[in-house]
Structure formats: C-alpha cells, structure tokens
C-alpha cells in the first residue's frame, strides 16, 4: 500500500543532491556538537573523577590571591607549622613544581619535577604499580636521590617497568638547576592517569622537596596540600591555616586557601564559560541546518506544484499536503542526525584511541553524554521541523486548479 513515507523516500531519492545536502548539514552539526560536548564532558568527568580519587578532605594553599601578588613565599617551614599547629590535619605535602628535562634515556623528555614528601601519595591517592612511593632522603647528594615517576606514554616506551624500578640511575638537568648531574634511583612507578585539559598527567617525577630546593636554590613552594582528618573539619582547617599564614606573613593576605569544593566550583565555572562559547558555535550550526532544510523544502514546494495539484485533485486535504512535506523534512533531518551520531562517535573513538593527550578523555559513546545527547537531538529535530513548517504550509495552501494551471 502506498504510504506517505513511500512518496517521501521516492522524492528524496530523486532529489539526491538536495537530500544529501540537508543530511550532510545535519550530520556535520551533530558530529561537531557531539565532538565538542564529548571533549568538555569528558574533561569534566575526568577532573571530577580525579578529585574524587584524591579524597574529600583536602585543602589547597598557593601563593598570591586574586587582588595582590605574593610578598612572602610559601615555604616548607610554613608547611611544617601547619602540620604541627593546626588541629584535625592528617597530612601535609609541600609541593615545589618545576619543568625540567630528563635526557638520560637517549631522548630528552620534559617532566614536571615535583619536590614533595611521601605524604602526597596519601593525599592524592596515587596508585603505585611497581615499587613503592618512597622518596625519603637523608640530604646527601652522594647517594642517588629516590624518585617516583609517572608512567607516561614516553617513559613506557623508553623503559620497561622492570628496568625502571630495578635501580636505573638517571640524571636531571635544566635551566636554573645545578650543572652537575644528579643521580636518581626510581623507587616507584605510578599507575597511568591520562590527561586533563590536554596536559599529560603522567609526565611527572616526584623527588624530595629538600633536594629540589637545593637544586633550584629556592625555598618558594608552588603549593601546600593539606588533608583534614574528616570532611567536617575542612572549613575549620582552612580557616586555621589562613590565621596561621597571616601571622607568618605579618598579616599580609598574600596567599589563597581553597578546598576541593571551591576548586571543583572554579573548574566548573571555567567549563561553563567554555560551554557558553561552544553553545554559540552549536547555535550557528543549528541555524545552518535549519536554513538548509528551509531552503531545500522551499525548492521542493516550487518544483512540486503539479504533484501537489494532482494530490489535491484526487482528494488530498491541506493537512495531507502539509504532513507530506513535514514528513520529508523530518526524514531528512533524522537521517542527518543518525549519520552525524555515527560520524561523531567514530571520530571521537578514533581520536581517543589514536591521538592521546587532550583526546584521551573523549566520550565516543553518545549515550555517555546522558540527557544532553537527547536534548541535542530533540532540539535539532524541533528546529528543523519548525523551519519546514513555512514551506509545508505554503504547499498546503496551493489550490489544485492553480497548481495544475501553472504548468
């Protein structure tokens, strides 16, 4: 039995170029939107996951605040004072981070060298896949420095796990560091952590903070991480740290104390800002898709006056004509969306598998985007439907006699 869909498919097949144009526009819109959203949501998920693995009770201190630069540096002494004098603190990790080159394995690699103590493992919940997280040091450079390394793609290619933890000695050089090579022994290897915001989180090396202070000739820490003994003490610990540091800094409020919750909020605010920018891109693409369906349907109405006239002559109501055109527009947009979902997923999957870095956190499965994915398709469909209303209405207003006479 002939149905509206039969007529629709036959017409769409005859007008392959136009049909293809609408499908391609919709597919591009869906694919690009999925890719962008997959990246943003992937990053957010990764960040939240990272935060959740750290534990819920940490406080993060760094020099300077939004209004004034740092006058007094954060030092290891301040970290020690926090540990000793602030109640309900379970661990403190001073962190001095510098980017240096590790050339010993033939090809130099840029590593984030983190001077800290072994408490950092507990605070951040680092998983060790080989050896142990042990960077205890006696302050004597004549024996190799104990270091713990992240297992990045590069280090994974350069050395086997066995080689890395069986006493390999590497040397450390870099701008602002002593010219003498520093011998190190790898005591532990971290589980791979992927990337965040395009940064490889595994190109890092933990060394004793005193050693890095010595090598850089600086006492200025990058951060102090503090873990409260219970989540209910986080706010109190943060306040007490502020009081303590104000005393140490002669009442200069030149530092920032923030907690996990604040950091999550900060990152989410930044993501929201980013999301509003990509929303503009998505809106533009959406408009293009809608215009494509509008233009193609207007052309269809112009081309099919005779067909409409014949249908009206043999009993089609205005509603039948309108339904026919809306059906065709809907089929094209749905077709485009299906192709777009396939393309977006395939590209995201390919990038995730092959490109690494920023793309490692992509979510190739659109279902992972949850309601956003459904909302996107619904909005796209609704906009296409809305933009095809005018051509469909125009077709439905054609009088049979006029439509047949106009030929």
């Amino acid at each position: 039995m002939t149905s509206r869909s039969t007529i629709a498919f036959r017409y769409m097949w005859r007008q392959k170029t136009r049909t293809g144009f609408v499908i391609a526009t919709y597919a591009a819109t869906v694919a690009v939107t999925l890719l962008i959203t997959s990246a943003v949501v992937g990053e957010e998920n990764y960040f939240l996951n990272e935060v959740s693995t750290v534990g819920a009770n940490w406080i993060y201190v760094y020099p300077g605040n939004g209004n004034s630069p740092s006058i007094y540096p954060l030092t290891e002494r301040a970290a020690g004072d926090i540990f000793r004098n602030v109640s309900h603190v379970s661990a403190v990790a001073p962190v001095m981070a510098v980017g240096l080159s590790v050339p010993s394995w033939g090809t130099a690699t840029s590593e984030d060298i983190v001077g800290t103590n072994s408490s950092v493992q507990g605070i951040f919940g680092y998983q060790v896949v080989a050896g142990a997280f042990n960077i205890n040091w006696n302050g004597n450079f004549s024996v190799p420095l104990p270091v713990v390394m992240g297992y990045s793609e590069w280090t994974g290619h350069a050395l086997s796990v066995g080689q890395m933890v069986s006493g390999s000695v590497v040397s450390l050089t870099g701008t602002g560091i002593s010219t003498r090579p520093v011998n190190m022994v790898i005591t532990g290897l971290l589980a791979p952590r992927g990337s965040l915001g395009g940064t490889d989180l595994d190109t890092l090396m933990f060394i004793p903070v005193q050693a890095l202070e010595n090598l850089t000739n600086s006492l200025s820490l990058t951060y102090i991480f503090v873990s409260a003994s219970d989540s209910k003490y986080v706010a109190q610990v943060a306040d007490d740290i502020s009081v303590l540091l104000l005393n140490l800094h002669k009442q200069y409020d030149d530092f920032t104390v923030t907690s996990e919750e604040s950091l999550v909020q900060l990152v989410q605010n930044e993501l929201n800002q980013f999301t509003s920018i990509i929303s503009l891109v998505e809106f533009t693409l959406l408009l293009l898709s809608a215009m494509s369906v509008f233009v193609v349907m207007m052309m269809a109405v112009k081309d099919r006056r005779r067909e409409v006239g014949v249908m009206r002559a043999i009993g089609a109501r205005r509603g039948d004509i309108m339904a026919q055109f809306l059906l065709e527009a809907s089929l094209m947009s749905v077709g485009g969306m299906i192709v777009g979902v396939g393309m977006g997923s395939a590209i995201a999957g390919y990038l995730k598998a092959n490109a690494g870095g920023f793309y490692a956190n992509l979510l190739p499965n659109p279902l992972d985007l949850g309601t956003y994915f459904v909302e996107l398709l619904c909005i796209l469909f609704a906009v296409g439907f809305l933009f095809s209303m005018a051509p469909a209405y125009q077709a439905s207003r054609l009088e049979a006699v006029e439509a047949l006479r106009s030929l």
Partner: protein
C-alpha cells in the same frame, strides 16, 4: 435516489478578477448530469468547459449559483468539505495524465485510497482490478510512468480516477495529447465504463470523441447552448 442527479449546476456563474478586470468564465449555467449518463461538453478553447469541470469537481467554487454532487451542495467556504467530496465522489482524468513519476503504476493507483480515509462502505477496487478495467496487462503495475506509452499512461490515469469508486468521472480533454489510435482506445474504455453504468462527463473540442457520448452539449462564451 433515482431522482438525485450525479451532478447539478443551477444558475452558476463564475467570474475571475476584480473591478474593471472582471471576466465571467461561466454565465448562468444550468446543467443536470443524470446517473449513468455519458455526457460530452463540446466547445472551443476558452469557452468555459474546463472551468465548469473544475466546479463540478469541487476544485473551484462558483461566484454565484448552486453546485451539487450526488445531492450534496458543494460548500463555497469549507475547503476541507470540498476536498472530502472530491475524494469520495469525483474521479478526475486530465489531458496531461498527471501520474506521479516517482511512484510505480501500482502506487499511483493506490494514491487516492491514501487520502480517502474511508473506514466503511464497499471495498475499493484493487490495482489489479483497475488495470484490467482499462484494458491494460497487470505487468504494467510495476512500471514507472516514464516506462509506458502516452496511451497507456492515460488509461492508467483513468484507472486512478476510478480507484475511489467515484460517483462521477470528470475528464478534461482526455485524448488531447494522444494520436488517433490511442484516442480510440481511450474511448473504448469510456464506452465500456458507460456500459457498466458509470457517470462520465468529458469536455472536448473533438466532435469525433463526443460522438461516443449519450448526450452532447455545446458551450460558447461561458454559456451552455444547445443539446446536440
């Protein structure tokens, strides 16, 4: 029921345009088409034949006067009701066939049913029955309109016009685009349908075609004149 005409025009006038540009295509036309009648309307181009056919087919509305199809007045304002009447009571055959090129012959013949929405009443003829009615082999059902000849296409168009089991078959120059051989074949179909009791109105300027009709009327300058 016997007294109810298949179609009726009473003092029907149809005008186009506004003000000084107003032109009367039909002037006070009266016509009664009886059931089972084969009526030919003859006249030169521009005489108003097609306009009258469009009014009978509920495709246009009269400026004044009354139009009835199978006893139902054709409403002037209600397009939906006119369309319903057209779908249920009228079968149209056009000079240029107007088959939908994207569809097969079978699908073209099924098209009127798509719009009919009839839930009860007699079963409508199948494409196979329709195609046999117009003396075509069943194998054409799976072809496209561009794969058959003009004569065959017009017979398919007649078959499509019969698909809704219409009260009246309206034909606008049905042989106008055909050679004499195919014209005769078409008229054979009309003769057969007429013999089976169909009500047919054919407008033509070909007197030879009109000879097949039971009754012939002529039209000139928008007025029906003599019974021929």
């Amino acid at each position: 029921m016997e007294d109810v005409p298949a179609a009726l025009l009473e003092d029907v006038t149809k005008e186009y345009g506004e003000g000084a540009n107003r032109v009367a295509a039909l002037k006070h036309v009266n016509l009664r088409v009886r059931r089972g009648e084969f009526l030919a309307v003859i006249g030169p181009s521009g005489s108003g034949k097609s306009t009258m056919l469009h009014l009978l087919g509920c495709m246009d509305v009269a400026t004044s006067g009354k139009v009835e199809i199978d006893g139902h007045p054709v409403p002037k304002e209600n397009d939906s009701e006119r369309t319903r009447l057209r779908g249920e009571k009228i079968g149209f055959v056009f000079q240029s066939f107007y088959l939908l090129g994207d569809l097969t012959i079978r699908e073209n013949l099924e098209l009127p049913k798509l719009f009919l929405r009839r839930r009860e009443g007699p079963t409508l003829p199948s494409p196979e029955e329709l195609i046999e009615t117009v003396n075509l082999p069943r194998r054409v059902l799976d072809r496209r309109p561009n794969q058959i000849s003009g004569g065959e296409a017009q017979r398919v168009a007649i078959a499509r016009a019969l698909a809704n089991d219409p009260t009246i078959l309206l034909c606008d120059e049905p042989t106008g685009n055909l050679d004499s051989h195919n014209s005769l074949a078409i008229m054979d179909v009309f003769d057969k349908l007429s013999a089976d009791g169909a009500t047919i109105v054919v407008v033509t300027h070909n007197p030879g075609i009109a000879q097949h009709a039971m009754r012939r009327v002529s039209m000139k300058d928008g007025m029906l004149s003599d019974e021929l």
